[in-house]
C-alpha cells in the first residue's frame, strides 16, 4: 500500500507549498495587483485553504481512495477516464513550474547560458520519485521541512533590513488588478488538489484538522511574508524581478567582504524546489497507473519524464509565451481541476454499492467505527484496487 503520513502532508504544506511561489509568481502578481499583491495572494490562499479543509473533511467521512469513490459512483470505466484526465492535468500543471525552475537554475547558478543538457538531471530525479510513489513525496517533505525552515529564515533575515513595508500602502487601491492577480495566479495554487489523491493513503490521527491547518497557515504566512518583503525591497520595479528568491537577499551589506553567501541558502532552497516540482509529476504517474488499469509505474514514469524533457527543450525560448497562455487563457482549467472537482468530490457516493441498505440508516459515528472492517472487505473484494497497484 502506497502510504503517506499525516506529518508528511503537514510538511508538504509548510515547506513544499511556499517554495513554488518564490520564483516567478511574485513578479507576476506584482504586475497585476501592484502593491496589493498581498491581497491577491491572500485571496488565493483563502480559497485554497477552504478547498483543503473540505478535502480533509471528506477524509473524515470515508476511508476510500478517490479512485474508489469515483468507481463507487460512476463505475470503473468512468473512474479510469477521470483519473486519465487528472493524469493529463498533473502533467500539464507540472510543465510551467518546470520551465520556471529551469530558468531559475540556469540564470542564477550559471555564468553563461548552459546547454539544455544541464537541466536534464532533474528528470532523472523526477523519474526516481515517480517510480517510488507517495512514499517519496512523504520523505521529500520530511527532508524539505528543516532545510526550508533554516534557509527561508536566513534569506528573510538578510532581506528584511532592505525592505520598506510602506511600499505596500495604500491597501486596496489595486481594484480589478487584485482579482486579476488572483485569477491569473491560479496556476501556482494547485496544492490543495494533492490531498484528494492521498485519501485512503494516510492514517487519520487525532487532531489531524488542526495539525494540517496550522501547517497550512505556516506555509501561507511564509508566502505572504516573502511577498511582502519582496515588494518592500523592489516596490515599483518588482514586476521585473524574476527569480525573486535569489534577488531579495543580495543587497545585504553585512557580508559584502564575503561575497554572496546567501547563495548557499538559495542552493538549498533550489533543492527543496526540485522536490516540490516532483509532486505533480508523481501524482500524474499515480493517476496514469490507475487509468491504465493499475499497471506498474515504471513505463508511465519514463514516458512522462521523457515527454516533459521534450517539452522543456521544445519550449526552450518560449517561457513567457507559455506562461501568458497558461495564466491568461487556461486559468479555468486550473480552477476546475484544483478547486471545483475537489469540492465536488463530496457529492460522490461514500458507501460501497450494495452496502447502502445495511449502513444507510446508521449514523455517521457508527460508519466511522466500521471503517476498518469495511475497508478490509473492500480490498478483499476488489483486488484491482490498491493491492494490485502495490
Amino acid at each position: 500500500m502506497d502510504k503517506i503520513k499525516l506529518r508528511q502532508i503537514c510538511f508538504l504544506f509548510a515547506a513544499l507549498m511556499p517554495v513554488t511561489k518564490m520564483i516567478i509568481y511574485p513578479a507576476t502578481v506584482s504586475y497585476y495587483a501592484k502593491n496589493d499583491l498581498l491581497l491577491s495572494a491572500a485571496l488565493n490562499l483563502l480559497l485554497m485553504g477552504a478547498v483543503l479543509a473540505l478535502v480533509l473533511f471528506l477524509a473524515y467521512r470515508t476511508d476510500m481512495t478517490f479512485f474508489d469513490l469515483l468507481q463507487n459512483t460512476f463505475g470503473r470505466v468512468a473512474a479510469r477516464i477521470i483519473y486519465g484526465l487528472f493524469a493529463l492535468f498533473f502533467a500539464f500543471s507540472a510543465l510551467l513550474p518546470l520551465m520556471e525552475q529551469k530558468g531559475f537554475v540556469t540564470q542564477i547558478f550559471y555564468e553563461n547560458i548552459p546547454p539544455v543538457i544541464a537541466f536534464a538531471p532533474f528528470f532523472g530525479v523526477s523519474f526516481f520519485a515517480c517510480v517510488k510513489g507517495f512514499k517519496t513525496i512523504g520523505r521529500a517533505a520530511d527532508i524539505a521541512m528543516p532545510v526550508f525552515a533554516v534557509c527561508f529564515a536566513v534569506i528573510i533575515l538578510l532581506a528584511l533590513p532592505e525592505a520598506d513595508f510602506s511600499a505596500l500602502l495604500p491597501v486596496g487601491g489595486g481594484g480589478e488588478g487584485i482579482f486579476r492577480g488572483s485569477l491569473y495566479g491560479l496556476t501556482w495554487y494547485t496544492d490543495c488538489l494533492y490531498p484528494l489523491f492521498f485519501l485512503g493513503h494516510f492514517k487519520r490521527e487525532k487532531g489531524a484538522w488542526w495539525k494540517v491547518g496550522i501547517c497550512y497557515l505556516v506555509g501561507a504566512a511564509a508566502v505572504l511574508l516573502f511577498l511582502g518583503t519582496f515588494y518592500g525591497i523592489f516596490a515599483d520595479i518588482a514586476l521585473r524581478q524574476q527569480n525573486a528568491v535569489a534577488q531579495i537577499s543580495k543587497y545585504t551589506t553585512a557580508f559584502t567582504s564575503l561575497g554572496r553567501i546567501d547563495l548557499l541558502f538559495i542552493f538549498a532552497l533550489a533543492l527543496v524546489l526540485v522536490l516540490s516540482q516532483c509532486v505533480p509529476a508523481q501524482l500524474s504517474v499515480h493517476c496514469a497507473c490507475r487509468a491504465l488499469g493499475d499497471i506498474g509505474p515504471l513505463w508511465p514514469a519514463a514516458a512522462l519524464n521523457i515527454l516533459l524533457l521534450g517539452f522543456t527543450v521544445f519550449f526552450k525560448y518560449s517561457y513567457l509565451e507559455l506562461q501568458t497562455f497558461f495564466t491568461q487563457n487556461l486559468w479555468f482549467v486550473f480552477l476546475i481541476f484544483s478547486y471545483v472537482l475537489p469540492v465536488s468530490a463530496h457529492l460522490l457516493r461514500k458507501q460501497e454499492r450494495g452496502r447502502q441498505g445495511k449502513t444507510g440508516g446508521q449514523k455517521h459515528g457508527a460508519q466511522c467505527g466500521n471503517r476498518g472492517a469495511r475497508m478490509k472487505e473492500t480490498r478483499k473484494g476488489d483486488t484491482t484496487g490498491e493491492e494490485r497497484h502495490e
Partner: protein, 426 residues
Amino acid sequence: MNKFWSRIFLFAVAFLLLLFFSNDFGIVNIQKTAIVVAVGLDIADGDKVDVTAQIAMPASSNSGGGAEASSNVSIHGAATVGEAIAELNRKTGWYPTLVHCRLVVLGEGTDSEDVFRFSDYFLRSEFVEDSCLLAMCEGRAEELLRAKSSVGDMTSAAIAKVLSNESQKTGTVCVVNLRDFAKGYYSVSGSGALPVLSAKPEAESGDSGGAGGAQGAFAGDCGGFAGSSALPVQGSSGSGNSGAGGGKSGNQNKSDVFDATKTALFFGGKRTALLEAEETLAYNLAASPTDFAYGDVTVTENGKDVTYNLKMKIGKRSQDLTVEGGVPVFTFRIRANAQVADTNKSETIEEVAKTTIVPEHVLRAAEEKFRQKLSAVLKKANAGGCDLFEMKIKLYRFARPYFDALKDTVLQDAKVVYDIQFDTLK
C-alpha cells in the same frame, strides 16, 4: 522494484544532483570570455552612445602577487548599449559577460535628456545585477575609467571603494545602486540622486578647499556650513589614510584619486541640480543610512571663535508627511548623539577626558547649522522638481485621498518642520 535497483537509483540521483548543482556544464572559458567589471556610457553625436567596457584581465601570480589588471575597450557611436555590447564581441572576439559588472558610470551629457534612455539596458538584462553601483561623472566616463588608480590597477575597484557602504555610513557619499535609482525613477516621484565622480591628479588631492573637502563640517558661527572644511573621514579627498581612493604617496607613477562628494539630483531622468559636498552630507544625515558623521561647528566663546569637531551618531531619523487642513506638512525628525572629536583650542586634561560631553551651546549651534543646510538642500531639490525626500511617495502611501489634488504642488506648498535634536552624554 527490488533493493538493488533502488540503490542504483539512489546513486544515480546523487550523481545527477551533483551535476545539477555543481555548475559542471557552465565553466567559463576565460580565453574567450571578457569579464566586464565596469561600463561607462557617454553621449555621442546624433543621439548615439559611446560605451566603454572595463574588462578584468587575469594576471599571473608571479607578476605582482596576483594583482588585478584591466583593459578598457570602447565602442563609439552605437545606437543602443545592447548594440555596443554585441559590437564588443565582434571587435575583440571575446564574449562579454556582464554578470560581474559592479559599476555603471554615466558621462556628462547623458543626463541632459533622460539617463534611463541608455542605462535601462542594465535593468532589462537578467545577467546584470541591479545591485551594481550607478554614478554620474564629470567629463567623459571613458576618460574616468582610463584614469590611473592609486589603489591597484583596476580603476573600477578604486571607484567602488569610494562608493562603498563604509562611505555611505559616514555620510560623505550618496551611494546609489541601479535598483535604488530605478525605484525612484519609476515611482510616482520620478526622482532620484546619483553621486558625481571626478578624477583628480594625486598632487591636487591634498587641497582641502577642493571637492574633497566634503565632509562638510558645520562650520561658521551659527551661519552655515563652511565649504572649505575638510574632515578626516574616508572619502575622496585623497588623504593618505583615506579609504576612498586615498593616494599612496610612495607611488612612482602619478596616479589619480576619485571624488564623489557631489550629488546630482534628477527628475524624470534629467539632471536638475547639484548638491555640493556639505549639502550631500546634510542629505545623507537626514535620509540615508548614515551611522557616524563628523562635522565642525564654530561658536564664540569668551569673544573668540572656537571650532568644535563633532562626531555624530544618528540615532533616529524619519520624514513624515501629513495633511493638515488641506496643507501638506513635512516633518524631519532627527535625533543624534554627539561627542567632541577635537577642538582648535587648548584644553585642560579634565576637558580632554570629557570628550563624550559636548557643551550645550555647541549642540544648539550644530542643530541650527544642520537645519539651515537641510533647508538649502530641500530648496535646491524642489526648485528643479526633484522629490529628493520622497514627499510625493509619502503622499501617495499615507494620504492617498489627497494625492491627486496635491501631487503637483506638494513640493512647493509643503510646510516643512525641522524637529532636530542633538544630544550628548550628560
